[in-house]
Symmetry: D2
Subunit: 404 residues, 4 copies
């Protein structure tokens, strides 16, 4: 059997997350790294026929004049990660895949993101419909040029401000008219999602931006028989909230307050320094506890741009809780993780799992991917371990189906 | 239906954990506190017919001239916990239950524990058999005096040094001879366990001491058709290891090193300052990660007696792990919990659950209680959430059985 | 020699800081506590003839219906500090001094402070001149009633929003006119300061509010031959900045960023939750590093009201610095201090030192008190140890003068 | 005026501290780094005529087959410090200086250090006198080969176990006999010190080993009219103790307990994992607080070898103190510093300052260097800021002398 040829199309390709995912893919192909950090490399997934790193080609959209190599070198210099020898070894892949990058769109992505864009095409004032068609043209050309069997589109761009949805987003019929006429019908993240789903391709939203999280888009996914997943990769402080929160619940500790301060200094941090964009992120970070605990403790989430930290996102959480006989106790943690490095392997995990689901004929929201997201589409469960059970049950069902 | 009358017999009754459990029980009876910290008060347990606080009478053994009231007041003054008004309100229970305390035994409990004993009877050099009989006499008198339907014996005494077991502990037949003759056949913790099981009473070991964790004792439990559980209540740093460890595993992070420093200043801390006694504790704290991760990262566990902290056990853990592309990251946490307050509600939980199991005719090790222990008897699983699933499955099975 | 009789008049008397200072004074008089936390009890001050606790009578203004006893009991219950026995023992002083409390003013103190005021007199819309005269009447009556030789007025009220000063505040002549006519000429904190200085009494500003920190007030102090000091007691995180900052400077480490997050839940915290009031506090906290280091690193200071913490102000600081060969390193600290307890002894220290200075005939700003303040009036030096040298030099000069 | 030619002779030259100092020196010569971390680059020192980086040549002793380049590359790979480009640029210096390295001695340095030695000459069982003469031969040859005006000998080798001194070390006369005969008269660190001082060269002990800290050696320094300084560079946790300790003292806080846990994984850490060697280090770390506070709080210092941390020494300190009205409060800090990078610039500072002192004709212990050492020879003062005053006074005196 010849191996299937697969594509990953990254929105915001040359950002820290995208470039690190690409470097990791290249390094895996060359056997230069072990699988640390890659969830789908766990024994749990052995029964599945997941794609190997050698099957992938990468392309993507970006709004800045940038390249994988440049970003990766910048990460090395500013954040002290990666061996130069490894970058050098992976350079051929990075350079050949960089040739697949096309100019993206900043349509309704807010002024802070617009300001970052230095590609003139990114600023074109197309109608939404025109923008979608332009995106689809790029996608189709990529697929054709590389003779790909499947392509997954993954949004790893910076966070957009919250985008208000209304009745016009409630059905396929209603949005269609708006796409022709109303300039402000959808933000960039949703245009990409629409373009992918409309082609019947899987779409994953690794950010808190709108993407495919509105009724009309979900209807489109069903109609085109494809799959989607999101939103907002769960990589650090929020992951810990969904890990520790259940412990407090199981021990019947009353969480009185949970304060989380996040500081970091990469480009995503710069975008999140705009209160409008930050709002989207804080919303997804701040809801999980109420869902897990069943009541709302006082919470505070801050995200501050501290330039010197670069990609090293540092979070301090202070949890104040009441135990037996009313005694108040405290847990604090500090998490010092490299943001792009935490996110990148999950991007590859999601690519592998979404492509598998689509190939097996699933449609709609991939709920079994909840453990990867801060705000999982279609899932109320935020307990990380219950989410892992959902994923592990899914794998079990597939393995059983295959063994019949 | 008249309510069943139940007893809790505490070994090391007037220590911090015992006295706090007793204060909590009294406060619950009087409705002076909510159920924070009490696991069995969670909705999960509603289907079960668990005993209420008003059904209990307390008694116990101790080796020191002490009382519940004295210990509780000392905790208030030294550790700044409890309202004086609440203590005063609970005083009648504390005083009436204190009358049920009998002199315990320091037999083979090591020199540091012996030195704490100021009751002359505690130092008596009986043969093991004589010691067991003396304990049983105390237990029977307690049951008779209060007309109790059931009594559970729970070890909350200070940690003994590791006790070597050999072939003589391997069966009921072999140990029987030793109990008559060999002064060093069993340490105090095991004599109490033996006394309880031999009477057909449930026994719970909240400490890392030997207790009932040797083959002959388990055989005795089966023979006398009673239940037992242990060892070593999982209350703070180790609880967090079994909560966070699975997260590192599920995300395929490679834990490189996990360092845990514990400091506290209560009487248990004083006993653990003896390297022999500390050894028992460190063993149960240090094994869980290897079981959860499937490999052995470098670990270090220290426990230091710092007098000024009194009951406020403070743990600093530093976790160093490798993520994607070999990048090393760090998580640190500080846990500031009041030791006795963390342990005490679990003692009540275990009493309720063990008495229920025995009443329902179960026998042997109560494996579904694994989530309460650092080193659960008969269970290899250390993932706290998998252990919670075991408990929740047990509750489900009982509820289903009852509904038929 | 008969001992001099002295008064402390507290603005915001029944707040956490005021009430704790009063409890401490009473406890010192009764010998119930040692001098921990009291700077002027150090051997350094032995050569000085500082007043003893038994010489003091307390009075003050407040805008709320409250009492020392009530506040102190609330602190005990909510923040788990103080022995009830000690409060009981000090009760006579607390009650007799409470009789000296008069209704204060919320004039131009901002809406958040106004909202706290439940004494109708506090809201009176007097002209500034009338408000000053009313305050002075209270002050004179206190002095007369208790036959006091000297009275020091100390502002321990909640923080006002920044108050813009202009040309009208630049001289005694110019402000005099404004005081008659312009309702908004001065905020409450400055009215109290004016009242005190105008009587020739010493005035200390323990808050970042305006107080006496404008040219006309300083001119008044000189004219009336009295002394003043401030602003904003240096008790926790900022103290540490002025302790650690010099270390980074002396070792030639380049501070890249210094992030400080403060969380607490007492009434001061509630007031600081108003961005306008918080602004005053953040300003005094955020300037010290630039002065100490000689350059401006990126800084971030947040103050959040987290109710469950009550008086336990918890600060997390993250300091990122560059060492040799450009390597970036990190220091983090967590400070868990009880806000009122940190401030209260300094209030007593400042009272003793200000009264001594006035008695010795000094006039104007007491620069040697810089080590007590976040934003010391008339002093550019923020290095805590250099500030201590200033205080110690002052003591030395006085001791030398006395020995002649 | 031709510039003086100067030498730095490092004992343990190719260890982390030595190699980093050498790399830093080379990078400074090439203008590739700024002076961050170098104390003598502060404006304070401008009045002095300190040597510049271009004036130095490096040599040294080592007991392992190693080179500066190898160690520096290992540091880069394991600890993620240094740009590869910078190492490459400095390579010529590193290689040419490496040619000046000679085989050292492990005489009486304890089994753990002996085990590290892979140069056969290091194990030679000379008499102390023979060992000293061999060392002096190496030193003289270095000086002659490079035509140096002055050479300073600095001990940056791993920590020896405590070495008991007795009457034989009390004078020049008594030790002289012992040096001929008794194999165990002195440990390696003292032989090097003796060799240097006997030649009339300055000697600095950056470690807690014996070095020149015994009466006979100080007598020798006076006799040969040279200078010495030590012991044990103050770089991280202990530096902070001497910075924070004075703050607790000045505020009259009673320190109840101070716990410090240090973890790291470089070669020094491996040596300190031997309890005998660790003992030397803990002694110098644990004494400073008592001296600063004037009483002995409960203290605990641990040092653990955690391999994955490599050169990143991480310290967690927990300080428990009593404030006003007996309320206990807590400060915690975490220090994450790169051990070699913290020490290396101080080695260069000490070289510059020791050479200057000797050139100016000073003799004996350089007490003004106290701020650089955990256990400063001849100085009881441990307050870092008072020590800085001593250094700054020294600079002032010299500047004044020069300006006359």
């Amino acid at each position: 059997m010849t191996e299937r040829r697969l594509g990953i199309w990254l929105i915001g390709a040359c950002g820290g997350v995208g470039s690190t995912a690409v470097l990791g893919l290249a390094a895996l192909r060359r056997g230069r790294i072990d699988a640390s950090g890659l969830v789908t490399a766990l024994p749990l997934f052995e029964p599945l026929d997941l794609a190997g790193p050698e099957q992938f080609v990468v392309g993507g959209h970006d709004i800045r004049r940038a390249s994988f190599l440049e970003t990766v070198r910048e990460l090395r210099q500013r954040s002290n990660v990666f061996e130069p020898e490894m970058i050098e070894a992976c350079r051929p892949d990075l350079e050949s895949w960089a040739a697949n990058i096309r100019a993206g769109s900043v349509c309704n992505a807010g002024p802070t993101i617009s300001r970052l864009a230095d590609l003139p095409e990114a600023q074109r004032a197309d109608s939404p419909r025109q923008a979608i068609e332009r995106i689809q043209k790029d996608l189709r050309e990529f697929r054709a040029a590389h003779k790909l069997d499947q392509v997954v589109v993954i949004n790893v761009a910076s966070t957009e401000p919250p985008f208000p949805i209304d009745d016009s987003h409630s059905s396929l019929a209603k949005i269609s008219a708006a796409l022709e006429k109303r300039q402000a019908a959808l933000p960039a993240s949703a245009l990409y999602a629409w373009a992918a789903l409309d082609l019947g391709w899987p779409y994953i939203n690794f950010t808190p931006s709108l993407g495919a999280s509105f009724p009309a888009a979900l209807e489109l996914a069903q109609e085109r028989k494809t799959v989607c997943g999101g939103k907002d990769g769960k990589t650090g402080e929020t992951l810990l909230k969904t890990v520790l929160g259940p412990m407090f619940a199981h021990r019947n500790f009353r969480v009185l307050s949970w304060v989380g301060h996040n500081i970091f200094g990469n480009r995503d941090g710069l975008v999140l320094d705009d209160p409008a964009n930050k709002e989207s992120k804080v919303r997804t970070k701040d809801q999980v506890l109420t869902r897990i605990l069943g009541y709302k403790p006082q919470t505070h989430v801050s995200i501050e741009y501290i330039e010197s930290l670069d990609d090293w996102k540092t979070a301090w959480d202070h949890i104040h809780f009441k135990g037996f006989l009313g005694v108040k106790m405290t847990m604090q943690f500090t998490w010092q993780g490299c943001d792009s490095l935490l996110a990148a392997p999950l991007v590859l995990d999601l690519a592998r799992l979404a492509l598998l689901s689509q190939q097996r004929g699933e449609t709609g929201v991939l709920k079994h991917l909840a453990c990867f997201f801060k705000n999982p589409m279609g899932v109320e469960e935020h307990d990380f371990f219950k989410q892992m059970d959902m994923l592990s049950d899914y794998v079990g069902r597939l393995a059983q189906a295959d063994s019949r």
